[in-house]
């Protein structure tokens, strides 16, 4: 079983409250916020490790981004992936989800073939959840997003997914794309030995020119059908009045405020 896991390096979501907007240039100031592997993608790596334990095979992590993303790929290798590829080129930067999914699908084609392509269901920063379904569309593969379980039976993937009113079970021909929900598993801890071992695992960086058959009109800003207008901070318009006193007194004051809203 050859498994690819798509990962994204994102600014640490615990620090999003520190993001500010430059009032003049209208650009984001996110200086000092460290980059981490997107949380959902860690669950995708864990899902890959469990599939490998069950069915054997290898795990390749792929990503697109600037050169420092090598660090998150190393971390993925320490988690237990076997090798890693990074597509890093100014030409692929500034991409929306369609252009990103195109470039990543080409990286997957170049380094594959794979039986299963895994990803996290959503990223902490953009959180569109578009990329997995769009990778599948570019590659003409079947796809399930927000997967809660994955197993392989008779050469097909059996995947469950929660809907508003129940749980669906799907059978997907291989290869296929599966984006995992964070509830699919608990991510195992890595140890120092694994971190040291990861330093010796193969990590290859490709430029756009290294990717066979990459249509440059489909990547980067130029290949993106959506464009960004202005940015705004989501600021609350509320003004908070503090209710002072002991917990009992505060509770009484809360009841006073909400009484008109309570149904008899």
């Amino acid at each position: 079983m050859k498994i690819a896991v798509c990962i994204k390096s994102v600014p640490d979501p615990d620090c999003y409250d520190k993001i500010t907007l430059d009032p003049v240039n209208k650009t984001l100031n996110r200086a000092g916020i460290p980059a981490v592997i997107n949380v959902a993608d860690k669950h995708a790596i864990e899902a890959a490790l469990q599939l490998k334990e069950e069915y054997g095979g290898s795990i390749t992590v792929v990503s697109m981004g600037p050169p420092p993303v090598e660090q998150q790929l190393r971390e993925a290798l320490a988690m237990g992936a076997d090798d890693a590829y990074l597509l890093s080129d100014r030409k692929v930067g500034g991409a929306d989800t369609l252009a990103t999914s195109y470039a990543v699908s080409k990286l997957i084609e170049q380094t594959g073939p794979y039986d299963i392509i895994l990803a996290g269901n959503e990223s902490a920063d953009g959180a569109t959840s578009h990329v997995p379904a769009q990778i599948a569309e570019w590659m003409g593969l079947g796809c399930i997003c927000s997967a809660l379980s994955i197993r392989v039976e008779d050469g097909k993937a059996i995947v469950t997914k929660k809907f508003e009113n129940g749980t669906g079970t799907f059978r997907l021909g291989l290869p296929c794309v599966i984006a995992v929900n964070q509830r699919i598993n608990k991510v195992r801890l890595t140890n120092m030995m694994a971190v040291l071992k990861a330093k010796k695992k193969p990590l290859t960086v490709f430029s756009a020119a290294d990717i066979t058959g990459l249509d440059e009109s489909r990547v980067g800003l130029a290949g993106s059908p959506t464009q960004n207008g202005e940015l705004h901070m989501a600021e609350s318009t509320k003004v908070c009045t503090m209710l002072e006193g002991t917990e009992e007194e505060a509770a009484a004051m809360i009841l006073e405020k909400i009484k008109p809203l309570l149904k008899a």
Partner: protein, 335 residues
């Protein structure tokens, strides 16, 4: 190219998903600024005449239907073929899809197929003279980015349920009791699907057991537990308080991660539900953007946090600096 605005009427047990009415209402607001625009519903499925009639709500001019045995599924891979074929045949300018479990997977598939732009999880859509601006939250809702689609069509946007207002009783999006004679139903040719094979097959669907608990999206009052509600007893007390107030119980992420609640249906925020109740009572919530973007349209917000600097207070009308568990048990006693 025409200026039609399409809204996906996802099949929720023979009726359109509730987000359909919310989007039809929004589409009707958009149409006022788009000359000659029509608002149209889109119905996919097998034997869906009833659904098409139910989608013929106030403010919908036409319902486009693709009816085929293969569409009796939650497999987005085959549904996107049908949806994309409809778009190619009738060229709408805008396509709105509710970001339900299915819609969130279907919309990017369609946009990928048509190589057009899709704005995710919009919190508003503005029609200006020059363009259609989709307001898209990023960084957990900390930042709102204007997204537009300059060259390709249709402009696609997904919207999470509960973000836009529900229809007024007789307004756009509201059901019409005796069928809507002014809505035209157009049944498109679906025979091409005979030869379409999807790589995905839905092999089972297990319906959730019916629950008597009030759902977050239906509640006038929401009582929400954050991680500051840290003991089992306090957690149960928050739920009991919700029960006493006829409120829906909600929570932040950690309760889902730790398995205290079974899934995201009780979680409020970017990855869970968006609520806008008359009253939001929050206990021990720090106020991370990922959470507040799911509740910041609530009318009256009262929160308790032991940290006077908690960001949650900036999203509150009234705040109490104190122990969440103690305030909850005092409330239970005094009620």
């Amino acid at each position: 190219m025409n200026r039609d605005i399409w809204v996906f009427a996802e099949n929720f047990g023979g009726r359109p998903a509730p987000v359909y009415g919310e989007l039809v209402r929004k589409a009707n607001e958009m149409r006022e600024k788009m000359q000659e625009a029509r608002v149209c519903g889109v119905v996919l499925g097998k034997d869906v005449d009833g659904l098409a009639a139910a989608a013929s709500v106030q403010g919908v001019d036409t319902v486009y239907v693709m009816d085929h045995p293969k569409l009796d599924t939650l497999d987005a891979c085959v549904l996107k073929e049908a949806f994309a074929a409809l778009i190619r045949a009738y060229n709408p300018e805008v396509v709105l899809v509710g970001a339900t479990a299915l819609g969130a997977e279907l919309a990017p598939g369609i946009a990928g197929k048509l190589k057009t732009g899709l704005a995710a999880h919009c919190v508003d859509i503005e029609v200006t003279e020059k363009r259609i601006n989709c307001m898209v939250p990023a960084f957990g809702g900390r930042v709102i980015s204007e997204i537009y689609v300059p060259a390709t069509r249709p402009v696609m946007a997904s919207v999470r349920p509960g973000i836009f207002d529900a229809p007024e009783p007789a307004g756009a999006g509201a059901p019409v009791t005796a069928g809507n004679p002014s809505t035209q139903v157009v049944r498109a040719d679906s025979s091409f699907l005979d030869s379409v094979t999807s790589p995905v097959e839905m092999i089972a669907f297990e319906q959730d057991a019916p629950s008597a608990d009030l759902r977050l999206e239906d509640a006038d009052i929401v009582v929400c537990a954050g991680r500051g509600v840290s003991t089992q007893e306090d957690f149960e007390n928050v739920k009991a308080l919700a029960g006493k107030l006829n409120a829906a119980f909600g929570c932040t992420r950690s309760f889902v991660d730790l398995g205290f609640v079974p899934d995201e249906s009780r979680m409020i925020g970017t990855s869970g539900k968006s609520v806008k109740p008359q009253l939001f009572l929050g206990f021990g919530i720090s106020g991370a953007a990922h959470h507040t973007c799911g509740m910041n349209k609530s009318k009256l917000v009262i929160t308790v946090n032991r940290d006077e600097k908690a960001r949650m207070f900036a999203n509150s009308d009234y705040g109490v600096v104190g122990d969440a568990g103690k305030v909850v048990s005092a409330l239970l006693k005094q009620l």
